[in-house]
Symmetry: C2
Subunit: 266 residues, 2 copies
Amino acid sequence: MIIVKIGGGKNINIDGICQDIAFLLEKEQVVVVHGASETRDEIAQKLGIPTKTITSPSGVSSVYTDKAAIDVFLMVYCGLQNKKIVANLLKHNVNAIGLSGVDGKLWQAKRKDVVYAVEDGKTKIVRDNFTGRVEKVNADLLWLLLNNNYVPVLCPPAISLQNEIVNTDNDLAVAVLAGALKSDKVVSLFEAAGLLKNVHDEKSVIRKIKKGELEEYLQFAKGRMKKKILGAQKALANGVSAVYWGDGRVEHPVLKALKGKGTVIS
Amino acid sequence: MIIVKIGGGKNINIDGICQDIAFLLEKEQVVVVHGASETRDEIAQKLGIPTKTITSPSGVSSVYTDKAAIDVFLMVYCGLQNKKIVANLLKHNVNAIGLSGVDGKLWQAKRKDVVYAVEDGKTKIVRDNFTGRVEKVNADLLWLLLNNNYVPVLCPPAISLQNEIVNTDNDLAVAVLAGALKSDKVVSLFEAAGLLKNVHDEKSVIRKIKKGELEEYLQFAKGRMKKKILGAQKALANGVSAVYWGDGRVEHPVLKALKGKGTVIS
């Protein structure tokens, strides 16, 4: 089984990815996971509640997700982006079904009750941040759909143990999902040619990384790529044989990534 | 089986409805269908693309759904409202799964290629209106979920035969759904005590209507209620034994409607 993770950038070639998925399905099962961060930020801005980030005492920044931000999250991830991908897959004769981590408790997460944030040099306690780590997957539901020839198209948010809707790190959620489904491969597509040695040079793609050496590459990773490295580490630890990072903007993004045109970690 | 249709008004007691559904599930299967029109109009307004209506040459007005309106529709129906109802049901230990008519082609509709609209006294052809009538239900998918103890929570839009996302009349979609699932009862909850003889007097509820006499009551129906009458007619024609219209704002909205506190058509 292959998990195809579609990044949240607006230049991702959704149609090309859906076409590739239809092709792959002739030989193996596929589960799709997607983001929608760029559109989320755009809609949040238009609604007058722009996306805010908080910085932890250790310097890691993350999205601050209060109740209003959860609403925007639901609208853009579960509504707009999820159904557009589902409709595109249907167009390619793929029997797609869109679900969030909330549906059937697909992704259960432990909510972080309290988050520490540094603001103007002072550490504050943030209590209205709805975020958590995915710990449990409803694999039975996914197998029920897969064994009946449906292709699940999944996205955050997740559901907390107290049934609150919570934001969650998508790359980590994919890693937990891969473990639960005993998935063989994870293909992650985003708006870059792969992991770049020099972020300003698209030709500086690092082609191969041994899984034991992934930690060393954290130095090349900027922003979101750090989370992708941690997600890949976890996916490999959970039994995935290879993680493929590839350019989501090109023609045949999935097939190219699987051919090693981006970065392969194994 | 009971289909519970939750109207799109903002004063609907979602929590009370979810509590009732949990209770009903001890004895029978339930499928939930919901709207979200009031929140849709609010978000559309905030995004600067307010909901527009068109009036047909025969005087029936309906929502004009161009591509931008479809986006808002997806956001509010499939994202915000659907996942909030699902999370609320989970809180009541109901194994809920939210799906739109797009997912797995749950609601297939024939798109109206062309719509005629009267504007300033002139009849115009509108071509960019994405709307259609639900003609086919993926009952296999619903039975797969129901037989595995999941409660489907459904909403429009539907998917056209050409795989376009299309708006559709929710009450008619419920009627087609009821026929496909051989549902026994339909409970429809909205922001009124039932069908009122006098729209300004909440106490003028018409308690019972014989299905053969439903047509006569069109005179008491204003706006959306006309579509509800047509939907009820179709549901009864499709084999439903009774349609219950009830107040969605009260405590125990579903149980009260089933006890005949609103309008019962049979």
